[in-house]
Amino acid sequence: MKNFVKFILFILLGIFIWHCVFKVLWIEENGINSFYEDSEIPMDVIFLGASNAFWQFNTVLAFHEYGFATGMLATGGQSFVATEFLLKEAQKYQNPNVYVIDINNIAVGIDFFEEGIIRKVTDNMKFSKNKLDTIETLLKYTPLEKDEYINYYLSFLTYHNSWKSVNINNFKNMTMFKGYFFDSSMIENEPFSKTVWCDNEEKIDDNNEEVLLHLIDYIKENKLEVLFIIPPRTFGDSHCAKLNYAKRILEENDFKVLNFSEGNEMNIDFQHDLVNEAHLNVYGATKYTVYLGNYLSANYHLKKHTNDNKYLSWQNEYERFKDTFKEISGTDFESLVQEAS
């Protein structure tokens, strides 16, 4: 019995060390980690989607301005196939007033295989049946053989090698602010002209359509409040037409779709507010957050948690963000917010 207890203790301590080691070896800058870290705190809004979500919606600014807490289950290049699984993941921990789903990547071919895109979702999910289902489904569209799936089920098989690049940043995640990504690259800008939104439609990939219809059924079955958005960015004609197609299906199913690429109510300056053709920089993100935050706050009866101690870390993160912004840009963030408001 004594030996058995010792053995169990040895295993438990080993698992703890394992957890610490791989936390250092595998630091990914996306929103999922923040989502899990704050899973005990009730969230009002949860974002799902690709980098447009966590690069553009400043969660700590939204909290400061409107008092609601936002969770990010967004990852770079996130395949639309992952949406339903991440929705299920969110439901396990939270019951938000509204889910905001970025549909940009529904216009991207489902068979577009890039290991990193899949891994950003699957490697960051906590181990559960849902994670296994996500892996199984996402890998179905890849040329991988079944026996190669093990590398996704056990992600340390891939990441154990990253010991070579361990540095101080691996011990502290400096660039994420409650799921919002900000570093020095986000103050840079690349000038673009605003693309004109198209009117025509183009059929999306059959698999994507199937996934979309399945998602619609799931949302209806679970009676979830969902807002779909098309993020502000520049578009090619085909991409725009495919999004129109998806938008129509969603609207036919009585879902609200906000298209931030059509029109320009937020007054995005395409000469200064974009970091690249697909993403807003911090200046654009501030305008976007103020606008969308206001919309969410007004339309979904979101609670204000500004004076709630449970949410103190959100306010602290906002202060850290302001300091970081000042350090990098040399200007005061509050004035930027005032301009955007």
Binding site: L13, I17, I150, N151, F156, L157, N161
Partner: protein, 509 residues
């Protein structure tokens, strides 16, 4: 089933769990089932089953017949026929190409315009091991060393016990009978010891051997570009790669077996502290050497043929020379057989056969001369410096011989040796050249630290059982050592996507 894959890990865990859960009298039967599963995992075919059955039925039947007709002349014929059947099958499956290559060379030499195609046969896994093990069994029954096993299923388990199928060691029926067919209770000490041994084996394979393999493979694949000191280092690395790969596999095997309470004979000690090639082979693949000595070398030495030859040469050259001939001729035959066993190619016959024989022959023959020189020059051969020189010399000679082992053909080996003489010692000092062969500076650092650990543990192992010693320490020390070992494997091991799941050099046998 490769020892460093999850498939093996899963298989071993399930096997061990079931082994201790089922009634003890069924344990051996379960081991047989799991061993046959291991034997035919992903390689089942009727032909392979027939090959296995031929060896099993021949050795089991021969054992029974030999026992039944003890002291009768027929017994000798049964022995010879059964050994020839098993050897014939082994040669047919593993060494056909050696004969085909030889015939093709002879045809070329004689100007005959005829070439035979090489054949590639899928032999059942581990056949090189259990063929010799079963020949040993038949000879032991013949010699009266052991009683034959009447139950063919038990005989099948002795032949196919899964831990030995990939890399040995060579087991003997007398040693294994009680262990294999006995009843085993779960023992916590065995469990800890076995698990640690498995981890140590994985450390050797995944952290050291796999790293070395990257460097070695790059150099051997392009030895015209990577010549001179690159080749010298690659040759030295290859021996370490071979050792860590092979002895690491043995550690994993012995660890798994130990957990089930079945001790296997040691196959390696610390070969790199050997002062001569003879001593090195006493520490390297020990059970193969012992098998060949017991079943080939000594019987050959005592055979009528060698004795008559000795008498013949005694008349011509005198007693001293004839004594040498009766010693070295069987030895040469034994070494050639070791070479052939390693694979049906001349590279193996030269590397692990003829060259080893030449080294040992020279060591023996020149020993009196070296003794005289040392005495004359007043050299103390028992100092650290001299012993170190002898160890390095042995290691370098062995590394040289293994160039043939690693090369694909004899011609390639000769090409590699020729290119070895290019002069480029600066690659050792310029801090960049060595890092362009697949291992960067950090990998080299990990490799060097791991090798230091390997050599220190090897040295300690010569004096005491290191794992046992660790378990005698207090719990904090013990756990630190174990966690260091486990996390070194997990973090620094070369596995996962991008790495070939350990090409086990000895698995092909």
């Amino acid at each position: 089933m490769i020892l460093t894959t999850f498939n093996f890990l899963f298989f071993a865990v399930i096997t061990i769990l079931i082994y201790f859960i089922i009634p003890k009298k069924l344990q051996w039967l379960f081991l047989l089932v799991s061993s046959f599963y291991f034997l035919f995992y992903k390689s089942f075919s009727i032909l392979n089953l027939i090959y296995v059955m031929i060896i099993l039925i021949t050795s089991w039947g021969a054992g029974l017949i030999i026992d039944k007709f003890k002291n009768k002349k027929i017994v000798k014929y049964v022995l010879i026929i059964s050994v020839l059947i098993i050897l014939g099958e082994l040669v047919f499956l593993k060494d056909s190409n050696l004969f085909i290559t030889t015939i093709n060379h002879l045809c070329n030499l004689m100007g005959i315009n005829k070439q035979f195609d090489l054949v590639y046969r899928n032999a059942p896994i581990g056949i090189s091991y259990y063929s010799l093990i079963m020949i040993g069994y038949i000879i032991d029954v013949y010699r009266g060393v052991c009683k034959p096993q009447k139950n063919i299923l038990k005989c099948a388990l002795f032949m196919s016990y899964f831990p030995i199928l990939t890399s040995g060691p060579f087991i003997r029926y007398n040693d294994m009978e009680d262990k294999l067919f006995g009843k085993h209770k779960f023992n916590y000490d065995n469990f800890c010891y076995g698990l640690t041994r498995v981890c140590w084996g994985l450390f050797k394979i995944l952290v050291i051997s796999q790293r070395l393999a990257i460097f070695v493979n790059t150099v051997y694949a392009d030895y015209y570009t990577y010549n001179g000191f690159y080749i010298i280092i690659a040759a030295m690395f290859f021996v370490l790669q071979l050792y860590t790969n092979f002895s690491g596999s043995i550690d994993v095997i012995m660890g798994v077996s130990k957990i089930m309470g079945i001790d296997l004979p040691e196959n390696f000690t610390s070969p790199f502290y050997s002062r001569t090639i003879t001593e090195l082979w006493r520490n390297w693949h020990i059970t193969l050497g012992a098998w060949l000595k017991d079943y080939i070398f000594y019987p050959l030495m005592k055979s009528d043929f060698i004795q008559n030859l000795g008498k013949f040469f005694k008349k011509i050259f005198g007693k001293k020379v004839s004594k040498k001939i009766t010693l070295y001729l069987p030895m040469l035959i034994m070494w050639i057989l070791i070479g052939i066993w390693h694979g049906g190619a001349y590279t193996f016959i030269i590397s692990s056969g003829i060259l080893q024989f030449i080294f040992i022959f020279l060591e023996d023959t020149l020993a009196p001369l070296a003794k005289k020189i040392n005495k004359k020059l007043n050299i103390n051969t028992e100092t650290f410096g001299y012993k170190f020189y002898q160890c390095v010399r042995t290691y370098l000679l062995f590394s040289f011989s293994m160039i043939f082992f690693r090369a694909n053909t004899v011609g390639e080996a000769i090409g590699i040796i020729k290119n070895m003489f290019a002069w480029n010692p600066w690659i050792l000092l310029d801090h960049t050249s060595l890092y362009t062969l697949g291992l960067d500076m950090l990998d080299f650092k990990v490799l060097m630290i791991s090798l230091v650990v390997l050599f220190v543990v090897g040295r300690m192992q010569m004096k005491f059982d290191v794992i046992k010693k660790v378990f005698e320490q207090n719990i904090v020390f013990r756990w630190i050592v174990l966690y260091l070992l486990i996390f070194s494997i997990i973090i620094f091991g070369m596995y996962g996507p991008g790495y070939d799941a350990a090409t086990f050099i000895y698995r092909q046998f």
